[in-house]
């Protein structure tokens, strides 16, 4: 049974990847780093529910197998299909954002890093519905950088997805989506949380292509 579920997860994963490629011709643009299987935290802008599958789909297979998106448990456990796709296809690290639970998100994230996984996180916390390029970052990225200073924090810009699949629309538009990976950053000695988060946010915005939307 377990074997069957794993097999199904692979099939679903491949289908998502092929669908993403066929519709958006999604492409990875490695500007600041090489696509090598090294432990990294990819932090990305968040405008659409398609962001995470796009980043996942454009990673080379060896890197896709070791990467774990950090995602909200309330979203991915809402129904049986999501509960299969989130944890088993994407191998998500599910975190509970409610303050009253004992299971702290950062503990699970650090545990995943200590297992050697790379992570995909969206430091804005929520989907950005504003005209601004990014919402203010939450502290999580800084805490990861302090707790595990050897891990590369890689800014990852997903272009165009807010036009391909804006909130409230049903049909995705087949426009070209580019995922740009920038040069990795680290928390510097004595750098304050706010300074670091501002630097991280600037590094991410700098990757946005200059195309009218």
């Amino acid at each position: 049974m377990k074997f069957l579920r794993q097999f199904a997860a692979r099939i679903v994963g491949q289908s998502i990847r092929i669908f993403a490629r066929a519709i958006t011709a999604v492409r990875a643009d490695w500007q600041g780093i090489e696509p090598v299987p090294k432990q990294r935290v990819y932090f990305a802008n968040h405008t659409s529910n398609g962001d995470m599958p796009m980043i996942w789909a454009c990673l080379p297979p060896a890197m896709r197998r070791t990467v774990r998106p950090v995602a909200a448990a309330d979203y991915w456990l809402k129904n049986k299909i999501r509960a299969f796709v989130g944890p088993e296809v994407f191998n998500c690290v599910l975190v509970d954002r409610r303050p009253e639970v004992k299971d702290k998100p950062m503990d699970k994230i650090i545990a995943a890093l200590d297992e050697g996984s790379s992570l995909i996180i969206f430091p804005e916390g929520n989907r950005n519905m504003t005209e601004d390029p990014l919402l203010p970052f939450k502290a999580g990225l800084y805490n990861m950088g302090v707790a595990r200073p050897d891990v590369d924090l890689v800014p990852t810009w997903v272009a165009n997805l807010n036009t391909i699949m804006p909130k409230g629309e049903v049909i995705p538009l087949p426009l070209i989506c580019t995922v740009t990976f920038g040069a990795p950053i680290h928390v510097q000695d004595g750098e304050s949380k706010d300074d670091f988060l501002r630097r991280a946010s600037d590094a991410l915005v700098a990757l946005a292509p200059n195309v009218p939307s």
């Binding site: 492409r27 538009l173 087949p174 070209i176 200059n210 009218p212």
Partner: protein, 313 residues
């Protein structure tokens, strides 16, 4: 085997002959490099030759499969071109429905009309119906910000990527006395003269080009363009047996298509410069996007179609 199939195979083998020569020359040059030496011009050339192998194979197969093959190939090319074009245009969420209609209704319908040879529909469908109806769909959402730019750019994308591209397979629907069953060869003629003309324009432009046509826009020179068009005419004369035009007619048509195509690619260079991109996309290794590869054919197709229909149809 019918003579049409024979002729397609002959053209395919001739193209393969040219490609084998080009690949051979590239490999010899590569073998002459000192160990560890890198030559970016040669690498670009070799990736381009590889892409051309793919193109010749795809177009050759599509032509051999006949009408259906050609329709599917060009419908796919239209889809890829429209995707590249609309990725760079101005749009708002208010246009979501009209853009979805452009991709999933207008594009397939245009190819259905071409496939059934309904020329009174496919020549007016996009310039009249899509032109008038899609802006209504966008206007209904009530967002006036940059409205004219948004709808105008969408219409431009449809005209270029769907209307113009679909006029390549539409060549098969023209009734020409004594040419029945061979229409598919006219597509090969158009693509061959325009693409080889471009290639030779590039070659001669590099060798003897001095006077830029549009400095700051494109490296194209008058010398290169004139040589390219003359070569396209000679190639047209050489393969005039694929057309109903006769030797001189084929030369004139090749010259016309090649000239329009070369100035067409200037138009695309201006659009790319305006949007600050070097290529339309990354889908064809070494060449950029589908629009980069097809720009001259896209521009030449409707005029080639119309002149053929006017004088020979």
């Amino acid at each position: 085997m019918s003579t049409t199939v024979n002729d397609i195979l002959l053209l395919a083998f001739a193209s393969f002959g040219i490609l084998v020569t080009m690949t051979f020359v590239g490999e010899v040059l590569r073998a002459k490099l000192a160990p560890g030496e890198v030559n970016p011009v040669l690498d670009t050339y070799m990736t381009r030759v590889q892409s051309w192998w793919g193109m010749v194979a795809f177009i050759g197969l599509a032509l051999l499969m006949g009408k259906i093959g050609v329709m599917v190939l060009f419908a796919f090319a239209s889809f890829a071109a429209l995707r590249e074009f609309l990725t760079l245009t101005t749009k708002a969420q208010a246009d979501h429905m009209s853009l979805a209609l452009a991709f999933f209704v207008v594009l397939p319908l245009q190819y259905v009309f071409v496939g059934f040879g309904l020329d009174r529909l496919y020549t007016v469908f996009i310039p009249v119906y899509a032109f008038l109806l899609l802006p209504i769909v966008s206007a209904l959402r009530g967002n006036a910000e940059r409205y004219l730019i948004r709808v105008a750019e969408t219409q431009w994308g449809l005209m270029i990527a769907v209307f113009c591209v679909s006029h390549v397979p539409a060549l098969m629907t023209i009734d020409i006395a004594g040419y029945a069953g061979r229409e598919v060869l006219m597509i090969a003629f158009l693509v061959i003269v325009v693409q080889l003309g471009d290639l030779l324009e590039y070659f001669f432009g590099r060798r003897i080009g001095k006077t830029r046509i549009a400095p700051g826009l494109s490296p194209k020179t008058w010398e290169g363009v004139i040589c390219g068009v003359v070569c396209a005419m000679l190639i047209g004369a050489l393969i005039n047996w694929t057309t109903p035009f006769g030797v001189f007619g084929a030369m004139a048509m090749a010259g016309l298509a090649s000239t329009v195509g070369m100035f067409g690619s200037l138009v695309f260079a201006a659009i790319k410069r305006d949007r600050g991109v070097k290529d339309w996309s990354h889908l064809i290794p070494g060449q950029g996007g589908f629009v980069d590869q097809l720009d001259s054919v896209i521009f030449a197709a409707p005029i080639f179609y119309h002149v053929t229909k006017y004088f020979y149809g």
